[in-house]
């Protein structure tokens, strides 16, 4: 059995962490109001699907993707072929932007791009090692797990508290620390 101190950093994992998709790619219903704000007020293109990828079947050559949010969320399935660009970005649990075209009775993906997380203004990203160091040094902070409560219960980061997005929307500052200058770090499920 491999024995390894958890203080060791593993370069490969580090790289992984860097190239890994952001949490926003998993957003569902909860970010609707955010998304509706000016930045994303671009025109809806019916031949573009944006959202988290539900799954990709290489045997059937299809991609299923969830578009829309809340009650309007639905899963769309498109086919792909050897001409489809960026098929590597259609990864389960990660958000993608799929451009498609109608061919006969079928919808075919033509170009797939990753949908990157947009950080709200004034919010900076923190990486895995930096966060680890802050926890290790016991820097005062409130670490918030924004995933649904069940996921938190199954396993969460040390010292993290559970505040799923709907709860924060409802209770606002009531569930956050009183000191508004204290470091506040949010995380979620990254990718699945």
């Amino acid at each position: 059995m491999k024995i390894r101190s958890f203080i060791n950093f593993i370069p490969v994992a580090l790289m992984l962490a860097l190239i890994m998709s952001g949490c926003a790619q998993q957003q569902g219903a909860t970010t609707a109001s955010q998304e509706a704000k000016p930045a994303v007020a671009e025109k809806k293109d019916p031949f573009v699907l944006k959202g988290p990828v539900v799954g990709r079947s290489n045997k059937a050559k299809t991609i299923s993707i969830t578009v829309g949010s809340g009650a309007a969320a639905k899963t769309m399935m498109v086919r792909f072929d050897d001409q489809t660009e960026g098929i590597e970005y259609a990864k389960k649990g990660e958000a993608a932007i799929i451009r498609w075209e109608q061919r006969g009775e079928d919808k075919f993906a033509t170009v797939i791009k990753p949908k990157l997380a947009k950080l709200p203004e004034g919010v900076t990203e923190i990486n895995v090692d930096e966060l680890y160091q802050l926890l290790e040094d016991q820097v005062p902070m409130t670490l918030v797990d924004a995933r649904p409560e069940l996921r938190y219960n199954q396993g969460h980061l040390p010292t993290a508290v559970s505040i799923p997005v709907p709860k924060l929307k409802e209770k606002k500052a009531e569930v956050l620390p009183q000191d508004k200058d204290k470091l506040l770090v949010f995380y979620c499920g990254g990718y699945t």
């Binding site: 957003q27 955010q34 396993g155 508004k180």
Partner: protein
């Protein structure tokens, strides 16, 4: 999700807000510790492993735990159901951490530790069980997820014992030609489902299967979104548990 929360916090006047975008998967990927809530340790559908040695668990243990001393873990790895969430604890932090990492390396997806280890559990005032241990067998049964049909019910359908049910095989034509098809089943490959929905009855329940359940899941989502009463089978159909009769196509030429 973290960006949504971070944006909201910023609006509420918090000045020092950061988002750990890579999230929990990146954290646990590094082998950094992840803890289960005590409530989940107590009630969740988990495999709970007591890593302590000798009669320590007899003197006091977390209810429902199975004793597997850390040195034995490698040998017992195959006894732990692959899909089970696993929670480990010990009285030694390093051992719990090592077991946590070993299980993750072995491919278990949901692995966590008990906060503060056994000592932390006791200190939290949660229930401790003591006395002789009669069995160290791991018992864990997966609960059906959303949209899943049980193997038993699926089997009834392909045996023709569920009159209002229509079974779809979402594998490719080539797979069906090579391996055969279940009785009372219609082959509609996943990629053809959108354009062949008119072949599916709206007044019957639909069960979808494929070879492992991945495509059946996607077919399920496609159909449920189009108003069908549908469930899918999450099972490798070569699994003996299925025990479903197959019609083997006649060899051609």
């Amino acid at each position: 999700m973290s960006t949504a929360n971070a944006g909201l916090a910023k609006k509420l006047g918090y000045t020092n807000v950061r988002a750990f975008l890579a999230g929990e998967p990146a954290w646990s990927e590094e082998g950094y510790p992840v803890y289960a809530s005590n409530q989940f340790v107590g009630k969740g559908n988990i495999v709970l492993i007591d890593l302590r040695k000798g009669d320590a668990p007899v003197k006091g243990r977390i209810p429902r735990s199975v004793q597997i001393h850390y040195d034995e873990l490698e040998n017992r790895m195959d006894d732990i159901p692959r899909n089970a969430p696993v929670v480990v604890y010990s009285d030694n932090m390093e051992e719990a951490q090592d077991a946590y990492e070993d299980l993750k390396d072995e491919g278990f997806k949901t692995v966590a530790m008990v906060k503060g280890n056994f000592q932390g559990w006791v200190a939290s005032g949660a229930e401790v069980e003591s006395g002789p241990i009669f069995s160290n067998e791991i018992r864990w049964v997966r609960k059906l997820g959303k949209g899943e049909v049980s193997v038993a019910e699926f089997r009834q359908a392909i045996m023709g014992e569920l009159p209002d049910t229509f079974v779809v095989d979402a594998r490719t034509k080539d797979e069906v030609a090579e391996l055969g098809i279940f009785t009372n089943t219609v082959n509609i490959p996943l990629d053809e489902i959108p354009k062949r929905m008119n072949e599916l009855p709206k007044d019957k329940r639909i069960f979808v299967h494929c070879s492992t359940g991945a495509r059946a899941d996607l077919a399920y989502r496609e159909l449920i979104g189009n108003g069908f009463d549908v469930k899918f089978l999450l099972l490798d159909i070569s699994d003996a548990e299925c025990d479903c009769p197959i019609i083997i196509p006649a060899k051609q030429g």
